[in-house]
Symmetry: C2
Subunit: 238 residues, 2 copies
DNA sequence: TGGGGCTATTTTGCATACAAAAAATGTTTG
DNA sequence: CAAACATTTTTTGTATGCAAAATAGCCCCA
C-alpha cells in the first residue's frame, strides 16, 4: 500500500485537472478495490481481464498490475493460469480477520488514549453524534459511514501509520460483508450503546477499559457477520 | 499475499521438475523479496526495470507485476513516473512496525497457549535447544535462523492464517534491519534468557504472562535495531 | 442418453513496441 | 564560471502481439 499518493477520489471522475499526476494503474487499483468492497464484484467472481480492462477503460497491462497489488492485500486470489477471482467470503476467514482486527483496534485504542489531542476527541465526539442522528432516523448507510469514520479517526489518533495501514487492509475484507448484514433494531441499538461506552472510555482516557470495549464491540460485529453469512448460505442452498 | 501456492524455494533453482506450475511473476516476487530482505538490494535502492529484469532473466512485464505486489506489502515504494525504490529503513517506521508486531505476537502467544498441541510445544522446545546450541557456539546467522523459526512456529500454533500472514509481511521489514545489528554478547545473552522465559510461559500455557514476555522481547529488539540504525547513520554522516 | 476424447475458441502469461515523462548532457549567455 | 535553457538519452507507463494453457464445443460411440 505504500504508494506516495495519499487517498484519492475513488471512482470515475474524468477531470483532467490540476492533479493529473495519478497513474492509470493506480486509479485502476482504487476503482477495482471499490468495486470489490462495494460488492459490485461479488466474492468469487472471476476477473476476466479483457472485459474488466474494457470496463475500466484501460488495457490489460495496468489492470494486471492492479490485480497483483490487490492480491497482496488479499482482496483477490490468483489462480495460476486461470486468472484471478474476488477473494471468497469464508466464515473461517472472517473469524480470523476479526480476531486480528480486535487486537489492532485494542492497540489503537490504547495508543489513542495517550496520544489523542482534545481536539481529536472532540472530532470523534462530533462524528459520534452524527452517527447517533442517522441511527435515530434509521439511515443505515449513513450510519455505517460515520461508524467507519469513527474507527478510522481512532486509528489516526493512535499516531501509527503502519497500524492504520494494516487495519485498512483487513477492514476492506470486513466491509464487504457489511452489505449483507441485516441489522435488527435491537442489535443496532446495542451497537450504538457500545459506541457510547467507547467514546466515554476515550474521553476518560482509560486505555485498559477502551481495549476491552473495542474487542467486545468487534466480537459482537463478528456474530452479526457470521449470522449474515449463514443466512446467505442458507438462501443459496435453498 | 493470497497466492494459492504455499511457500516455495526462494531462489534460483532451475528444476523444471514436477511442480512447474509456478508462474514467472511469482518466482520474481520471491526472488525480489529475498533480494530486499537479505539486503542485497539496500534500502532506497532505485529499481531499474530494464537492469533488474535482465538480472532476473525475465522481461519487464512480470517484474513490474512483482513490484506492484511488493509495493502492497510495503517492501518497495512507488514513485509515479519515477519507478520504484526499496522501502527506506526509517527509524520512525521501525518503531511503528515493532509496536504492531508486539500486538500481533502477543495475540499469537495468547492463542498459542490455548491451541498448541503438546507436540507443537515439543517442536518449539526442540527449536529452542537448537538455538541455544548455536548461541553457545556464537553462530549468529544460525541463531537467527532458529530464532525466526520459533517465532514463526508460535504464529502457526495460534492457528490463525490471517494473523500469520500479516505478521510475515511486517516481519519482512524488520528482518532487513537484522543484518546491521551488531549484537553484543551481553545483549545476546539477555535475548536468549528472554526466550527461555517465553518457552516456559508457553509450556505452562500462561497466556497472560506470555503476552507480556513477547511484548518486552520485541521492545528490546527494537532498542537494538534503533541503535544499529543510529550507528549506521553516524557512519554515513561521518 | 451420456460420457470420453478430439478440436476450436477463449483466456491467460509473457515479451515486445511505442509514447510520454524524467534525467542527463551539452550549449549558450549573463 | 555558473546558471538557465535546449536537446539528447534514458526510463517509465501503457498498449499490443504472440504463444501456451485452459475452457468450451463437438462429434463419436457405447
Amino acid at each position: 500500500m505504500s504508494i506516495a499518493i495519499p487517498y484519492a477520489p475513488a471512482a470515475g471522475f474524468n477531470v483532467t485537472s490540476l492533479t493529473e499526476r495519478r497513474l492509470l494503474h493506480e486509479t485502476v487499483i482504487d476503482q477495482l478495490r471499490d468495486l470489490i468492497v462495494q460488492g459490485e464484484l461479488a466474492p468469487e467472481t472471476k476477473l476476466n481481464e479483457r472485459v474488466l480492462a474494457e470496463r475500466l477503460g484501460t488495457s490489460r497491462t495496468p489492470l494486471r498490475e492492479a490485480i497483483k497489488f490487490l492480491a497482496s492485500e488479499g482482496l483477490v486470489e490468483l489462480l495460476p493460469h486461470r486468472g484471478a477471482v474476488v477473494a471468497p467470503l469464508k466464515p473461517e476467514k472472517m473469524k480470523e480477520v476479526f480476531v486480528v482486527l480486535g487486537a489492532l483496534e485494542a492497540l489503537a485504542g490504547d495508543l489513542a488514549c495517550r496520544n489523542a489531542t482534545d481536539a481529536d476527541i472532540a472530532e470523534i465526539r462530533a462524528l459520534h453524534y452524527h452517527m447517533l442522528a442517522h441511527h435515530a432516523r434509521g439511515e443505515l448507510a449513513q450510519y455505517f459511514r460515520y461508524n467507519q469514520q469513527i474507527h478510522i479517526k481512532l486509528m489516526e489518533c493512535a499516531g501509527n501509520a503502519t497500524l492504520a495501514q494494516v487495519y485498512r487492509g483487513l477492514n476492506a475484507h470486513v466491509k464487504r460483508a457489511r452489505y449483507l448484514a441485516n441489522l435488527s433494531r435491537e442489535r443496532w441499538d446495542k451497537a450504538v450503546k457500545e459506541h457510547a461506552d467507547i467514546l466515554d472510555a476515550l474521553v476518560r482516557r482509560d486505555g485498559a477499559r477502551l481495549q476491552v470495549l473495542l474487542r467486545d464491540h468487534l466480537a459482537n460485529k463478528l456474530v452479526l457477520v457470521m449470522e449474515a453469512l449463514a443466512a446467505q448460505r442458507g438462501e443459496v442452498a435453498r
